[in-house]
Amino acid sequence: MTHMNRRRVLRGILNGGAVTVGLPLLDCFLNTNGTAMADGKPLPIAFGTWHWGLGIARNVFEPKTTGLNYELTQQLLPLKDVKQHINVLTNFTAFRDSAPAICHHTGWVIARSGNAPRTNGDVVETIDVTTAARIGRTTRFKILAASAVNNVRETFSYDNPTTPNTAETSALGLYTRIFGPDFQDPNAPTFTPNPAVMVRKSALSGVMNDIKDVEKVVGAEDRARMDQYFTAVRQVERQFEQRLTKPEPIAACHSPKALGEDIKIGTEVELVSSRHKTMASLMAMAVACDQTRVFNLYYGGFDHTKLGYEKPHHACTHEEPIDEKLGYQINHAWFTMRSIQAWAEYVKVLADFKEGGGSLLDRVLVMGTTDVGEARIHSIDHLPILMAGRAGGKVKTGYHVDGGGTSIARIGYTAMRVMGLDIPNWGTNSNNTSKELGEILV
């Protein structure tokens, strides 16, 4: 689909003369995504983010050609079974303007919020939060986040600088959160409404009364605007109602078997990887059961360790000598390769999850970010992003795209447009963009 430029739409309306409605009806240009209910309409689209730490080694990561049929490089080799489901996006820049370069921070913050941070934790609303406001209103969790990184203080999701959204760091914790006592199985015979939701729903009645009041004193055209507003409030109310009524059965939703005991805490890659795989499966089922439509999973920060090698990943990027023959750091390359492998495993979990006539990947879009480009020098240019999923047919996969040094905010912007957000542009200062990544759009 061609995304209609908002300004062009505006001009169209203006040139057409009569302007009886405001901008919001631009909504009609969006397709039916995001609002599909459990009543036979297409399954809803969903958005995920993923994170791995410490970037890449460019010379063994970046494919030499772009488009379809690019050759997998050494670090991308683990992707060979899922190549058709993903897009590899390389060579994007995080513009920081006059903001300082904050190690391990600036890169991902700009990728996820479009805004260069001035201090650690100076993160404005991240893409998952913005997207959840659009597509995550009816689900039990607006956002569900889990982290295989064993650190509750490490998160990549913020409402604003003072409100980080923490992630669940234990697999058992994640299981309990989704499928524990509060889980309302859509296929179960019983249902108990949540009192907090009830309170919020009933609070809306005051707003609706106010609308009726206002309607009494305005002219016909303005009454149409109030009607539009009333409809919007009604929709929010219906979304609450939906959360207060027993959901329609979902064929693909099966509460997974309870985890007997937690997967051991630790930083060793095999442990992390097993936590990550379990979390990935739980996350997939949470999306299938429509418990959430926005899901964050973090594979790595930077303290993963390798059995028999004394340095954790981060120290390794700095401390390990470059192999004189190979021209790169052998152990660092191994860590990165494991990260890419974890991504492959995640994508495979989603691809193998069958629902309807296809797989979960058909209706999700997952954006995998990292904090730096070239790891050894912790650069914030040459940043890569990995993407998976077709977002209900709006995204094509199997491509390598070279960003040509443009802002990494373009990817987030593209993702949000795909998720149906009506935003004319995104990002601040030099990261402000209205340029989608046309190469991967259908």
Binding site: P24, D27, A133, N209, M226, V236, N431
Partner: protein, 575 residues
């Protein structure tokens, strides 16, 4: 006209040529004749200045508050630190103003979600343990349960400001009921109060400014704004925020409806430092600075013009405007000849000058080419292409934004190759455009826009000064409607003396104040003359307008059918 005679001695031949050119241009391009008062002479109009012509007033409207207005109101209530970083939905620019677009904007479910998010953010901040003790004004008997008295006290006080009039008993009970139920259900007084505050923040009574009319007792058969609507209109006009306690009190007592009472309130508002926010908001709107939010320059051509520079350029223009027009109460026309401004580190780099580590007041030296707001980065870079300057865009902006004229879009099927892929042997924009002008279809409009823009060709697409383009010296001469100039300084002077400049400003201020772009020509003439009599001082113009009949008189919107709506209006008025 007098000045023009002076100038003719410079180059009679050239002037004749330009005059002829302008005539051709007008004929060919049919520039929209919306600058009616242009050329009306002070002498002739002076009689008309004494009394405001009879007016039928502006149609009542319902305006969506802008994000800035909402945040200013919230800041008034809860302090400057209670703000959200929400990106509010954009308005549509109508008749040159977003403020008029606000009269057409609505809220669909996507936009409601944005306002809901903002309201959740605000409520959370207010109920924060560090703030609530300072902001709520009472302590619940039991923090884990409802407290009717405390909730009532807080919500009725806050609701009055947000709704811009007191909540009636039923509404108060309703919102307190929400707070109480939520507090008891959630076992927390502050959570309950927060939910109730959220509903006030997303109420249409907060988000939409509704003009309510009542019969004007002084003029039978005519309608005026009721006291609260007048209070709101004044406050959004002068402060870009909802009325404060004092203004609301004047509405409650009805004092605001008396000429004396209204003057007292208006003078208080004009004397307040909050006027600066109001004037900023107006000029930000009139000069279309929202376009700067999406301005991007080619970083390889203009490395110095970073995202920071763009933001600072807007701030610089607004600081220049408020300092000159509000703080110093100078003549509006001086904006185009002043050398005083403010400079940030990012802008200093564009202007190739030393600076401090933060903003500083600065006066460009007498021999500097920087003179007037048109030689600042916001205008120069804002109306250029990403990689080069554009005399056409600059000229068009000047015509449209400062003269209230409309320059038609280019006709279809035009060959732009002369400007887009120019012959490398042609060095300057003037020469490139000359080639383009050979096409008679284009020449008509370009002769309206380009001469103005060409005077600014000493500034490149990022607003940096240059004397040459690709090695060829730049010729910055031109003419405005027959009056010649030869550099940015003389352009500023010519603008300063152009009647269209002040009449357009008058028109825009009145449109902005009343959300109506279709005032009578006679009314505009009157305000324009008043503006002149007051030495073109903005606060004085604001005062004249705020106290005028045109400001408070209203009529039903044209398209409204008579029946039910008229009844509703009457009902409202009868209350």
């Amino acid at each position: 006209m007098f000045r023009m005679k002076e100038k003719t001695s410079i180059s009679k031949r050239r002037l004749t040529f330009l005059r002829g050119c302008a005539f051709v241009a007008l004929a060919a391009c049919a520039i929209a004749a919306c600058s009616a008062p242009t050329g009306v002479q002070n002498d002739a109009a002076r009689v008309a200045t004494l009394q405001e012509p009879d007016t039928k007033g502006a149609p009542t409207s319902v305006r969506l508050v802008t994000g800035a207005q909402l945040l200013n109101t919230v800041a008034y209530l809860f302090g400057p630190d209670v703000k959200t970083i929400t990106r509010f939905p954009p308005m549509e620019r109508v008749e040159g103003l977003l403020q008029i677009g606000a009269g057409r904007a609505g809220i669909n479910d996507n936009y409601l979600e944005i306002y809901r998010k903002a309201s959740t953010d605000v409520a959370a901040l207010v109920m924060d343990v560090r703030r609530r003790n300072f902001l709520i004004g009472c302590t619940p008997a039991n923090p884990n349960a409802a407290d009717n008295a405390c909730a009532t006290q807080f919500l009725s006080r806050v609701g009055r400001i947000l709704f811009r009039q007191p909540l009636d008993k039923a509404r108060t009970d309703e919102v307190v009921g929400i707070a109480n139920t939520a507090a008891d259900t959630l076992g927390d007084f502050y959570s309950g109060l927060g939910i109730a505050l959220e509903t006030l923040l997303v109420s249409p009574k907060t988000l939409f400014v509704v003009d309510r009319a009542e019969p004007d007792p002084a003029r039978p058969g005519e309608q005026r704004l009721d006291a609260y609507s007048l209070a709101s209109r004044l406050s959004f006009f002068l402060w870009n925020a909802a009325p404060d306690d004092t203004v609301l009190k004047a509405a409650e007592s009805g004092e605001i409806l008396t000429p004396k009472g209204r003057a007292k309130i208006v003078d208080m508002m004009l004397a307040s430092p909050r006027l600066e926010k109001g004037v900023r908001a107006f000029f930000d709107d009139m000069l279309a600075f929202d376009d700067l939010e999406v301005l991007a320059k080619d970083p390889q051509i203009y490395p110095v013009f970073t995202g920071n520079a763009v933001g600072d350029a807007r701030e610089q223009a607004l600081r220049t405007i408020t300092e000159l027009l509000v703080t110093e109460r100078s003549d509006y026309r001086d904006l185009f000849t002043t050398r005083k401004t403010f400079v940030s580190p990012a802008l200093a780099a564009v202007y190739q000058m030393p600076t401090n580590s933060s903003w500083m007041a600065y006066e460009f030296p007498k021999d500097s080419p920087r003179i007037g707001i048109l030689t600042q980065a916001a205008f120069l870079a804002g109306h250029s292409h990403p990689g080069r300057s554009s005399p056409t865009l600059r000229g068009k902006a000047l015509r449209e934004l400062l003269f209230c004229q409309k320059v038609p879009p280019p006709p279809p099927n035009v060959d732009f190759s002369a400007v887009e892929n120019p012959d490398p042997n042609i060095k300057t924009a003037r020469d490139r455009l000359d080639v383009h002008h050979k096409n008679p279809v284009c020449a008509g409009c370009h002769k309206i826009t380009d001469p103005l823009g060409l005077a600014l060709e000493n500034f490149d697409g990022a607003g940096q000064y240059r004397e040459n383009e690709k090695g060829a010296p730049i010729d910055a001469t031109g003419a405005l409607d027959g009056v010649p100039f030869n550099d940015p300084a003389t352009l500023g002077k010519v603008l300063h003396d152009s009647p269209a400049l002040t009449s357009c400003l008058t028109r825009r201020v009145l449109s902005y104040a009343t959300s109506n772009a279709n005032a009578d020509a006679e009314v505009l003439k009157y305000f324009n003359a008043q503006f002149g009599m007051h030495g073109y001082r903005i606060p004085d113009l604001l005062r004249v307008i705020a106290l005028s009949e045109s400001f408070s008189r209203v009529r039903a919107p044209e398209s409204t059918t008579k029946t039910a709506d008229a009844g509703a209006l009457t009902n409202a008025a009868a209350k």
